[in-house]
Symmetry: C2
Subunit: 194 residues, 2 copies
């Protein structure tokens, strides 16, 4: 039986890097950018659109206003098309064997599988702001605003599509505060669990 | 610098046994029953009262109705006296060096310490019901009702005293689903973190 590790993460928590390091250490594939490409292929939408519009909820959708219509699927928005493609890609990849999947509600889409290890990585706003300042060269105020906006988008996206409270411990096998534990130790712990 | 591991746990998740095993493996004290005795001594209340009335919120308090008055502390309920004693005992014990503390809002009371490792142990109702049936010889329905009641009590207690959402991942260094991970592996993971 395969084992699938899904990584959900707060923006700026280093969750992506942790997921990639776990996959490397375990010698299994990590689906991150590749997930975007496959979803783009499946849906016929551009990789840029997939990258921007899926997890990072477009502002319009926060208020449940459909902002696009895909004429080829009458009654479905482009977001719905994306979601269907995303589900298909994730379920198919999970069938192919052990892997790490970053984001994209993979935890929710694969829910119920016995071989699922659902991880949530988070950190304090202070720690995440440090990361954003370093990574994007933003000021402290810009970084905090950026985090606030991304948190709202991801939380809304989860509630809308996954009907799940984002970050509630009961939805995960394990949650880790990367700011307290450190990225390297998070990798060790996830590998211990695997 | 010492390191303090606090274990908060859902009723029936095996969190107490995990905490005790962690302490044993690390060769550090585990404060559980001892915490109750020390709080009783500090407050002048009986150990039975402390055990029953503190974490396992009395029914009356769920609706914020004071059920006792301690005449020697005018204006304070016995619960307030208990809370003050609990705070003092936990802060004093934390000063004595590395240890594991089970329950009693120790995570909240010691919040802000750099050496704090805050763990939350949870499991599905199904898994916990199995534990309760085995431990207390209850029927499935009784076990589920018991769990529901204990969850409500602990959640209310946390909200009232710690002003914290019980089980929200952001309040912990790490949360573990003992039903998925297994008690033994939980012990290993916490020891890795320490």
């Amino acid at each position: 039986m395969s084992r699938i590790i899904t990584i959900s993460r707060e923006f700026g928590s280093g969750g992506r890097a942790i997921g990639q390091a776990v996959a490397e250490k375990l010698g299994i594939p990590c689906y991150d950018q590749e997930l975007i490409e496959k979803i783009a292929e499946e849906s016929g939408l551009s990789p840029d659109f997939v990258a921007d519009e899926s997890e990072n909820m477009p502002r319009g959708l926060l208020f449940s206003v459909p902002i696009f219509e895909d004429r080829s699927y009458s009654g479905f928005s482009m977001q719905d098309v994306l979601w269907q493609a995303q589900k298909k890609v994730i379920v198919d990849l999970a069938e192919q064997g052990d892997c790490v999947m970053i984001g994209r509600c993979a935890d929710y889409i694969l829910k119920g599988r016995q071989d699922l290890i659902r991880i949530f990585i988070h950190a304090s706003v202070k720690k995440r702001a440090e990361w954003v300042m370093k990574t994007y060269g933003e000021t402290k105020d810009q970084a905090k605003k950026h985090i606030e906006e991304m948190d709202l988008r991801r939380r809304t996206y989860y509630r809308l599509y996954a009907d799940m409270k984002w970050g509630a411990s009961r939805n995960y096998t394990m949650t880790l505060n990367s700011g307290e534990i450190g990225e390297e130790k998070c990798v060790d712990i996830i590998c211990t669990l695997y």
